[in-house]
């Protein structure tokens, strides 16, 4: 029997009728058509499906959707505000941090979670915070550069000017 799920997604209230064993990842992609969130293993191994749940980064493939009742989820689609990209997105696009782009949504989410709690992290701390996200294309360096550049941009003008 399907269960009704009410929660907030990217600042908007969302409602879905879902099988009780569906994961948050499946509800986002299949029921809400928010396909920006990706999957690479569905076993919590690759980091591609990361989203923010009540501001904390989680792997949406490991979250049973009904744990999200009444809670707040932010996906990559929610990083863009009023048509303006988040500085992380700008810097990722400008500096080659996204090649095939498949791991990118999860890494952006993990990076945003880091910068929300630590606005000025060292390169080593960035590495640590992103170490649960695999990328097979970039070799990670341009991602680190992009996160560092976004820190500068956030420091200069606040959020998404």
């Amino acid at each position: 029997m399907k269960l009704r799920l009410n929660f907030s997604v990217n600042g908007e209230s969302a409602e879905a009728l879902v099988d009780p064993d569906k994961t948050l990842l499946e509800v986002l992609r299949e029921d809400l058509q928010l396909t920006g969130t990706k999957h690479g293993c569905e076993l919590g191994e690759c980091g591609a499906c990361a989203v923010l749940l009540d501001d904390q980064p989680v792997l949406s493939c490991l979250v049973v959707s009904h744990e999200c009742e009444g809670r707040s989820v932010v996906t990559v689609e929610g990083l863009t505000v009023d048509g303006r990209l988040h500085p992380l997105q700008e810097c990722f696009a400008d500096l080659g941090a996204s090649q095939c782009g498949y791991c990118t949504p999860g890494i952006l989410i993990a990076a945003k979670a880091l910068l929300d709690r630590e606005p000025n992290p060292s390169r080593d701390l960035i590495r640590e915070a992103l170490s649960g996200n695999l990328c097979r294309c970039t070799g990670y360096q341009q991602i680190l550069d992009a996160v560092e550049a976004s820190i500068v941009r956030l420091g200069e003008g606040g959020d998404q000017k």
Partner: protein, 830 residues
């Protein structure tokens, strides 16, 4: 007149960058169509068996199941190479590895399909399992396939260029080394997915995460017996490919068939475990290098043997086999050369092309052997290589045409940047540096299906809006092919990349491009795009010249304008200029094509290796090795790549660093290996760890700082001088790591990956006074076919085999002359 470039060479945001960072790029599994059904495959649980019977009745009875399929529905075999059409979408009679698809269920949702597919009952009659090349060489029966050179040998080849035995015998030193390179896999983060549907006209449409829509198009046409003209294949942007999405796959054929039969869209999205079974990754290769070397470090001859574990199907394997012996000669001057390669079938997921395709394994052996040679002759390994770099504009012993070669510059650059001279053999115990080089094709010189057709086609559409749309079959796999295409068109027409729309990888809409493999796209698509854009520029220039009365030769295309170079205010906007051309000529559309030059290699097997031009790379890797644990960390890598011209330096750097990353994974941890289930279970040969967690790959924490230098001497055959960068920079990493480990702790790890266990074993051997080495023993005896003898170019060869029965005039081989020729010095030959 030469004007500064506006687009090419400038670091830019790639044209699809915004889509990727907003999650708007539509990958195959992001496609959701109304009334769409979902497919699951049943895969074999045994490695080698006859299918006795399949009972699908329980699955078919499940509520929500629309269709159950078995091999009966797929009688026509297919495959990527014309010589090995040995795959069926679902196995009709024999399964050949754990993971081989046997049946399929199509149902209203994935969960129902998954539940139903498990209710299918298959009875197997097991056959002998071939777990290794040794098994396959030892037992010719039962044959895994009913084709192939003999027994379970898929392909065995033997080529000789000059009298290599005399050259080695006459050398001051002979080095004889065996190496092993374990298999590994691509591990793209996107799992393969396909959506097939019948369009309103009744024709088949297939959206798939494929690197090669053209070849998928051909395979679907054959396997489903539908004319290619009635099939549309759309390559969705790939979430990483690395060669792993270059074959036509079972699941693509199955959902295409199901969609046509049910007249409903059908999707399949593979699990990570299934991606490990698709594989087509790096072949495990055992190698033997015998090299003759002079006292001053020049190679007189090289005798190479390779043995490839091909897995269960042909895939690209014949090409892979030749590639293990193709590129040794394009880096260094090797006047005489013999290559013998053998690929066997085993009961494992099929191997195929992974980044570097067949060349990284023997590159590893060659570069480690050169390190050993340098050690023995007491020559710095950088100097040894600098002394033997292949000259530019030359033909190698195996008839590969080398044009520009920036290898010496690459070596000098990494030597200088890394402080090599102060570090090599001078660092304290446990720290070391290693150097290695490589080369790669800028596109395969021959197509997979031999014909005289272009390898890449580009069309341009311009109209009164001022907008430009560029169409090309090239496939975006993350490397930036859309960006290269748009950047080139924008540069030639003097407009901005944002003004150009790219339509790519769609067999209905775009002219054929053979696909994203062999590092061919930038060079081939790029040249076709230049031709199409230059033809459009001609038409526009004619229109503007007539209308504004400016001599055509003085017209400049820049800053979204077309204007008089002698009076820049006199001119018009690009949009107006297109209108002038449209008024004069009617609808404006142009095309461009690219076909590689013919290769001088006319012998059988000479089709693998030729390329319009080769890229070159050198690197220095620094390692820390803990002698107590054998643990290796890599703090720094310096790499220099001969790119010719960097079209978008942001993307080029990304390809170099991504190659270093993937090379370090192969060097230190990545292994596609197998084990037997316990005897009380089935004793089946299974993948050791088909999961991302246990198949180790480097994380953010494992990745060193990489110092990248680009050597830019424009190559005359490349678009704006560009050569490849997608594959070459991976190749020198593995040998450089092994060479650095030797510098650090004095043991040779002649087998990839370089693991702590192997280092400890070698250190123990060293402490016990035995050979300080971990690596394979003897290379097995292989019944090689008759060697094709090809006289090298420097001895007057014409590119054909002397003993080729089809040779117009049979060439008499005079062994004495050959031996004398082999002894000639490099100077005399050039």
């Amino acid at each position: 007149m030469t004007r500064p470039r506006n687009v090419i060479g400038k670091p830019r945001r790639r044209v699809d960058g915004r889509a990727k960072v907003t999650g708007q790029t539509k990958f195959a599994d992001d496609i959701m169509l109304p009334r769409m059904l979902h497919c699951k495959l049943l895969r074999s649980t045994v490695p080698h068996a006859k299918i006795v019977r399949i009972n699908t009745s329980k699955a078919a009875a499940v509520d929500g199941v629309a269709l159950v399929l078995t091999g009966e529905s797929f009688p026509i075999p297919y495959g990527i190479l014309p010589v090995s059409h040995d795959e069926h979408a679902l196995c009709p009679d024999v399964v050949r590895f754990v993971g081989d698809p046997v049946a399929a269920v199509v149902a209203r949702d994935e969960a129902t399909a998954d539940r139903a597919v498990r209710l299918i009952d298959v009875e197997y009659e097991t056959l002998r399992t071939f777990a290794s090349p040794a098994d396959s060489l030892a037992y010719p029966e039962p044959r895994i396939h009913d084709y192939g050179d003999f027994g379970n040998v898929h392909k065995a080849v033997a080529l000789q260029f000059g009298d290599v035995d005399a050259a080695i015998a006459g050398a001051d030193h002979v080095f004889d080394d065996t190496f092993f390179f374990e298999g590994n896999t691509h591990l793209p983060i996107e799992q393969h997915a396909t959506v097939a549907t019948k369009d309103p006209d009744g024709k088949l449409v297939v959206y798939s995460s494929t690197q090669t829509p053209h070849y998928l198009h051909r395979a679907l046409s054959k396997a489903l017996a539908i004319p290619a003209a009635h099939i549309r294949v759309v390559a969705t942007p790939n979430g990483g490919g690395f060669g792993g999405k270059s074959d036509p796959f079972n699941h693509e054929v199955v959902v295409a068939h199901a969609a046509m039969r049910l007249d409903r869209p059908v999707k399949i999205a593979l699990t990570r475990e299934e991606v490990f079974y698709c594989h087509r990754g790096r072949h495990p290769v055992l190698m033997r290098f015998r090299a003759g070397v002079t006292n001053d470090g020049r190679v007189t001859g090289l005798d190479l043997q390779t043995l490839l574990d091909g897995g269960a199907y042909g895939s690209y394997g014949v090409a892979s086999t030749f590639y293990t012996g193709a590129l040794q000669t394009v880096t260094y001057d090797i006047p005489t050369y013999r290559f013998r390669g053998c690929r066997v079938f085993t009961n494992k997921p099929p191997c195929g092309p992974k980044r570097g395709h067949g060349t990284p394994q023997s590159r590893f052996g060659q570069e480690v052997q050169l390190d050993k040679i340098a050690e023995k002759l007491v020559i710095d390994p950088a100097d040894l290589r600098l002394n033997i770099v292949q000259p530019p504009d030359s033909l190698t012993a195996n008839f590969l045409r080398v044009g520009t070669i920036g290898l010496a510059d690459c070596i000098k650059k990494v030597v200088e940047r890394s402080g090599w001279r102060e570090k090599y053999r001078k660092l304290p115990l446990g720290r070391g540096v290693g150097l290695a080089c490589s080369s790669y094709l800028s596109g395969a010189g021959l197509p997979i299906n031999w014909n005289d057709l272009p390898h890449s086609g580009v069309q341009l559409k311009l109209d009164r809006s001022g907008g430009v749309t560029v169409f090309c079959g090239a496939t975006e796999i993350g490397q930036g092919s859309d960006d290269v295409l748009v950047g080139i068109v924008a540069e030639v027409l003097g407009i901005e990349p944002f003004d150009v729309r790219a339509v790519t990888g769609d067999t209905d809409l775009t002219p054929v491009d053979l696909g994203s493999y062999s590092s061919r796209v930038t060079l081939m698509m790029g040249n076709a795009a230049i031709q199409a854009a230059e033809r459009a520029r001609e038409l526009i220039a004619d229109g503007v010249s007539a209308k504004l009365d400016i001599p055509k030769s003085r017209l400049v295309f820049a800053d979204r304008r077309v204007f008089d170079s002698e009076d820049p205010d006199k001119g018009t906007s690009f949009r107006e200029a297109v209108c002038m051309a449209e008024a004069k000529f009617g609808t404006i559309g142009t095309t461009g094509s690219y076909t590689p030059p013919k290769s001088p290699a006319k012998f059988k097997g000479g089709g693998v290796g030729p390329s319009p031009t080769y890229s070159y790379t050198a690197c220095v890797v620094e390692v820390d090795v803990d002698p107590e644990t054998g643990w290796v960390t890599v703090p720094r890598v310096w790499i220099a790549h001969d790119i010719g011209c960097s079209l978008n330096p942001v993307l080029v750097r990304g390809q170099v660093e991504g190659g270093v990353y993937m090379g370090l994974g192969e060097a230190l941890m990545e292994e596609q290996v197998f084990r037997r289930l316990p005897a009380k279970l089935s004793h089946a040969l299974v993948h050791k760890f088909p999961s991302i967690l246990e198949y180790k790959s480097p994380t953010f924490l494992d990745m060193p700082e990489v110092f990248t230098d680009l050597i830019e001497h424009p190559d005359p055959v490349g678009p704006f001088g560009a050569k490849e960068v997608g594959q070459g920079p991976l190749l020198p990493i593995m040998p450089a790591v092994a060479n650095a480990v030797y510098d650090a702790v004095g043991v040779r790890i002649d087998s990839i990956p370089v693991t702590p266990e192997k280092i400890l074993r070698a250190l123990e051997a060293k402490a016990a006074g035995k050979a300080p080495r971990s690596g394979p023993g003897a290379f097995p005896e292989i019944p090689w076919p008759e060697t094709l003898h090809v006289t090298p170019p420097w001895a007057g060869g014409d590119g054909r085999a002397d003993n080729d029965p089809k040779r117009p005039t049979h060439r008499k081989v005079d062994a004495g002359i050959e031996a004398k020729a082999a002894g000639m010095t490099k100077e005399a030959r050039s």
